[in-house]
């Protein structure tokens, strides 16, 4: 699907799902989830060549997506459910006992769409590289996508993996950094500046493109561009500028909503800003 209006309408519903999920269990990470809603909708409803709603762990002959910054699980769960991987109704179990929707994504409960546990940061790029190399061995010409946080770039393992992908030319891999500039303790710039991230990845042998992650048209265009650059010898990075809390005015422009839930009143304010486009669960 490439209808921008329709994709935006899905994003709006996903944002409603996110704030409702986080509100219902009074925990979770709404800020980054809201910021990445457009990207994940673009990926799962337009770009990903996958077999939804069918899911199998090995993912042969389809594109794969890994979420490395697992704390933004609400957005992934909503998108997977809305895409048909599991019943939308199940979103109401998020972070509750005996749920398949664990606080951070996990495979133990066999939730369709999840192929690796994540949450302890810095591991997803390595996993994606492994999956990408397995695809090459299998002669499978599909792509592997992975989303990381910008704060997550402070983890050493990310750079081990970045070195590997560049040195070995893992060109069926598209990594994305949610470049929202915020982490738990405050602005990334202040906590531990990443410097020139683009130059750093380029120095590691990556091809880097920047994109506005909250503009559906730009996302589609850049994701298509990235696909056209695949299989040309270099791994790719999308430096995706987003706004933490995007779509809910009082959650934007601050790290305060990185990991806290709205109360009843705040929920009502948030939902008033997000049209119910696909029907609430």
């Amino acid at each position: 699907m490439n209808d921008i209006n329709q994709l935006n309408r899905i994003s709006t519903q996903v944002r409603r799902d996110i704030v409702r999920m986080v509100h219902a269990c009074q925990s979770g990470h709404p800020g980054g989830s809201l910021g990445c809603a457009d990207f994940l909708v673009a990926l799962y409803f337009s770009q990903l060549n996958h077999k939804a709603p069918h899911f199998d762990m090995n993912g042969h002959d389809e594109d794969l997506f890994f979420l490395s910054n697992g704390h933004i699980s609400p957005v992934l769960y909503s998108v997977l459910a809305r895409r048909g991987y599991f019943p939308v109704e199940e979103l109401k179990t998020f972070r509750k006992i005996h749920s398949r929707l664990q606080g951070h994504p996990a495979t133990m409960e066999h939730l369709p769409g999840i192929r690796i546990a994540s949450g302890s940061l810095g591991q997803g790029l390595s996993v994606a590289i492994g999956a990408a190399r397995a695809k090459k061995l299998n002669g499978d010409k599909h792509l592997v996508y992975v989303l990381m946080g910008d704060g997550e770039q402070q983890e050493g393992q990310v750079w081990e993996a970045a070195l590997h992908a560049g040195a070995k030319g893992i060109d069926n891999l598209i990594a994305v950094i949610d470049y929202n500039g915020q982490q738990i303790d405050g602005p990334v710039e202040k906590v531990m500046s990443l410097g020139d991230l683009k130059a750093k990845y380029e120095a590691f042998g990556w091809s880097v493109i920047t994109v506005d992650g909250n503009d559906m048209a730009s996302l589609l265009e850049i994701l298509e561009l990235a696909k056209s650059y695949a299989f040309k010898g270099a791994p790719q990075l999308l430096l995706m500028k987003t706004e933490m809390g995007q779509g809910v005015d009082f959650m934007m422009g601050t790290h305060k909503w990185h990991g806290s839930a709205p109360n009843d009143e705040q929920l009502a304010v948030a939902l008033a800003q997000l049209e119910e486009t696909l029907g609430d669960y």
Binding site: M57, N58, G59, H60, L64, F66, A106, T107, M108, R115, I116, A117, S118, G119, S120, G122, Q123, G124, L125, S126, V127, A128, I129, G130, A131, A132, R133, A134, K135, L137, N138, D140, G156, Q157, E160, A161, L163, H164, A167
Partner: protein, 316 residues
Amino acid sequence: MEFKVINYQDTRSGFGAGLAELGRRNPKVVALCADLTGSLKMEVFEKENPDRFFQVGISEAHMIGMAAGMTIGGYIPFTGTFANFSTGRVYDQIRQSVAYSGKNVKICASHAGLTLGEDGATHQILEDIGMMKMLPGMTVIVPCDYNQTKAATMAIADFEGPVYLRFGRPKVANFTPEDQPFIIGKAVLLKEGADVTIFATGHMVWKAVEAIQQLHEKGVNAELINIHTIKPLDEEAVLASAGKTKCVVTAEEHQQNGGLGDSIAQLLSRRMPLPIEMVAVQDVFGQSGTPEQLLAEYGLEHIDIAEAALRAISRK
């Protein structure tokens, strides 16, 4: 008592031979190595299967994550580095990306324990069995000699699930029959006896063989069981033997905390409280020295096992 020494070989060479054989038999087996191909004896696999061998450089954390990723796509990754860098250095990567994710990764660890020798305590990990056995769903295997390590290496490829395979550096007595099948979780009775049971693992199995010969000269009829799979523990075999001899000794090249002795003590205290003596490292770090010097220094010689057996018997 007949323990025929076939030859003296290192267990890591058994791993290398097993991996090479797997390379020929199982196209799904891939190997990853963090700059220790020679030390892990992975060269034959690399030479024969260049497309299925992945040199990752000195980046162990990344290697574990990458191995987890390769299972998605149907491969059976064997990672190779020293035991220290296979466990302590990458514990969280194993915990989240392998164990909790239920990935079919085989973590193969060489140079474990004191017998790594001269490199000293930085490299002599003595806590790895404990760390690995605490992870839900992790199978922990410590074979005793070349032939058993080779057989174990091949057996874990056919087993679905994460495995920690621990082996070592020095040449030791190779006495397991070449055709002996390796059954994960099934203890091997090496000698029947009536007075005391010695449960040993890894390099300490041969030390225990020497100990029971020494005990025999003193009129003690010891039973010897090789616990090559620490987890899942062969509880049936442990209880059957302990129930017969009424006292036990455990022997391992590992800290007492978290090792084989700890597992057996836990089982016996729940099901069959009996005198137990443990031959293991007593909450200290190692140091540089030859393997034999170090085993003597930290009380891991055959004589220490024999003495422990006499103490256990006296407590019956």
